[in-house]
Symmetry: C2
């Protein structure tokens, strides 16, 4: 079959190396964390912070994000407390909602359900308001979530403008999230949005600079679930 379907070199498929020493999904994850712990450059993260950072590294496949991760002093305990209390979670993208594991959330608090996670980016009223105002939908999505933001966990992995609007709501409207996960990504207003949340008296976990994304946002919440279950 090799000539016809593809193997240029005639080697045996690599996966037989894996089948010779098979591992389950959880075993592969544990192995990955061993590699990360062994290869990570020196750092000054505390043990609980490292649980978050190593899962972010695991998700990014990239140690260089380490230097850009910032925790407010109270961020990890605030996040753990909020998860154990089953506080609502606002997310700025459908990908984050799809990526959050209900089993992991329930390991922190059995009351978590799909209705605990709020995502308004695809709501019809949000799209209509954004179209009329010629502004990004993400601004109207975060405004719509205002009733659950105080005391809730706010997670941004996509749109920096929504984080900027949350920052305004914190400063001007008295909104006070239990934790803000601030890992939006991109090239316009992203760095400003992150520096601003770092300047506010709100527990936050931030990836400074342009990098970020929905998968990193999910990894932060999942790491906090691990700490909450422990």
């Amino acid at each position: 079959m090799g000539d016809k379907n593809g193997l240029k070199g005639g080697r045996s498929p690599f996966i037989y190396n894996f089948y010779a020493l098979p591992r389950s999904g959880p075993q592969i994850e544990a192995w990955s964390f061993d590699v990360i712990d062994r290869e990570a450059p020196p750092h000054s993260f505390g043990p609980d912070e490292w649980e978050v950072v190593r899962r972010m590294i695991h998700t990014a496949g990239d140690f260089t994000i380490m230097k850009d991760i910032r925790f407010s002093a109270d961020a990890v305990p605030a996040g753990v407390k909020a998860l154990r209390a089953g506080r609502p979670i606002y997310v700025d993208s459908s990908m984050i909602r799809a990526g959050l594991s209900l089993a992991r959330l329930r390991s922190a608090c059995v009351r978590y359900s799909p209705q605990s996670v709020f995502c308004h980016i695809a709501d019809e009223d949000v799209a209509r308001d954004a179209g009329e105002a010629e502004l990004p939908r993400s601004i109207f999505a975060v405004r719509k979530a205002k009733p659950i933001l105080t005391g809730g966990i706010a997670v941004f992995g996509n749109a920096p403008v929504a984080l900027l609007e949350l920052n305004r709501m914190i400063i001007e409207d008295g909104v006070q999230p239990a934790l803000v996960v601030a890992v939006p990504v991109g090239f316009v207003h992203v760095e400003e949005s992150k520096e601003e949340i770092l300047s506010l008296d709100v527990p936050c976990i931030v990836l400074r600079g342009r990098r970020g994304g929905s998968t990193l946002a999910v990894s932060v919440i999942h790491a906090l679930c691990t700490l909450s279950a422990g």
Copy 2:
């Protein structure tokens, strides 16, 4: 409110800079691509390949991925042809399924529907088989998709072991995808999975090394949709 709710420095919220010169979501995206085109280091990607690469950069917030992106000679035209024909799309994570825009897919082919995207990672039979075999679910998910893989688009942003299993199916079982998007992420078998697909006679778009992820996988398909609609 500043003292109580947070603004340490007493500045005005940054978003007023944005509201002073407001932009819609599509305008921000266009602005972002302008920044990327302007700041990108010299490269040898062709115009169609650059459409894919710049969207990957946009998604990662990171120019350093450029050096690791590889296209097989026929990858972009093969992907465009498959999308225009409405070929099924296999994805290895729920996040990719959630992130794929039906509007973008339909801009390539009006026949695309939610049922065109196949994701088996959360299927009960896949979980049961994986548990019994003590192997990752992703292996059984890709095996289950075998009927649609030949002629379809196979997208990997999460699990390298599933890509290894696809590689085996290409070599041994005669499976022949129209395009493989190979951007799994991690620290175990990831690099081997990518080097192997690059060695096969199958159209593929690959991010070499450990980096990757579901958001990057989505960005590749969306860029190919843009090219398909053009």
